[in-house]
Symmetry: C2
Subunit: 233 residues, 2 copies
Amino acid sequence: MSDLHYSSSPQFSETERTAVYRAINERRDMRHFAGGQVPEDVLLRLLRAAHHAPSVGMMQPWRFIRVQSRPMRERIHALIEQERQRTAEALGERKDEFMKLKVQGVLDAAEVLVITMPPGREAHVFGRRTLPEMDIASAACAVQNMWLAARAENLGLGWVSLFDPEALARLLQMPKGAHPLGVLCLGPVQAFYAEPMLQQEKWARRMPLQDMLMDEVWAQESSLDASALHTSK
Amino acid sequence: MSDLHYSSSPQFSETERTAVYRAINERRDMRHFAGGQVPEDVLLRLLRAAHHAPSVGMMQPWRFIRVQSRPMRERIHALIEQERQRTAEALGERKDEFMKLKVQGVLDAAEVLVITMPPGREAHVFGRRTLPEMDIASAACAVQNMWLAARAENLGLGWVSLFDPEALARLLQMPKGAHPLGVLCLGPVQAFYAEPMLQQEKWARRMPLQDMLMDEVWAQESSLDASALHTSK
């Protein structure tokens, strides 16, 4: 371990820190897009941000398929609509409420990127022997990087997971063992939601931070006082 | 959908955007910590950043158990050491190389936070009917938010997934159905690795971005030119 090199970057300034928190606080799962375009250099910066995510054993379990053709987008949209209906049925009493939440991004967003895990996950044991789902966690970190970078580029991103992964894999001619995790809709938006859309639509509310925290063991309340934190969106 | 409120925040400036990319590029999975402390207000800011992650159907599937006591940390460390040995055996020819990579953060880091999913995931159907792993993806986004915020606070974070989740759940007295996803080591570091530690240790290398990208379908090479992107860490 003696041959590690260290960064000589300066400390993050207060201004830089504030910008990072701003991206975290103002990132939204967008469902309304304004068409337009994402310049290729911006798109590449966002993909590069995704590719700088952490991954278990550095396995980098993410690939991105950019879908531009209208016919292919319509087929993806149809898969999503099919799953929306099935999810609505499965939700039972919240069915009508759920069906009001449209998923239009696939047709309207400037860019559609399908994130998928490549085949071969079983070859990666490092950090996954007991937690095989860690490759999914890594791919999710890649999306989160892209999401925050998109917000900083003043672009909206929505992560759609309403689809049958096997059907989407077939549609995009993926090899056996590949596993799509999301249809990412990306592009200019007229504005960002002031709060998470599902909160505005009264589907759910952000829980109090205090309720997320415990000390030492599950049942012990946290001695941290989250109410001391200044409130914000 | 007519009652959505929109944010009136100004556009992100070039300076803010650069800061977000800096956090993304300079975040590291840290294994070397310098002891010390994390002030409670900073710790709460980081936890709040995690809690501002996206989650499927806004289910917020993350809880954080802060472990301060030395005996409990030693028990967690013992679980990790046990799994390190088992992973090394499973790796076969890369065993010796793997065993050189120490995992000391649990004993040395200022803070240890165990992230776990709470029981009850099966009640959440929204966005999970066909992709049940989406709650894991959401929890991973929470960690990534905290990781980037920690970097902006000039603090290191390491995500350890080398443990038997059932044994860790028992140790921390979690209820049936809870599922720990990581032992997060957090705190001051002497410096950040200049590159990912596993790359410096020659375990793996970051793959070319171009190889991550495709157009329309799996087999079609991307028409984007990632080599046009300015290189960086």
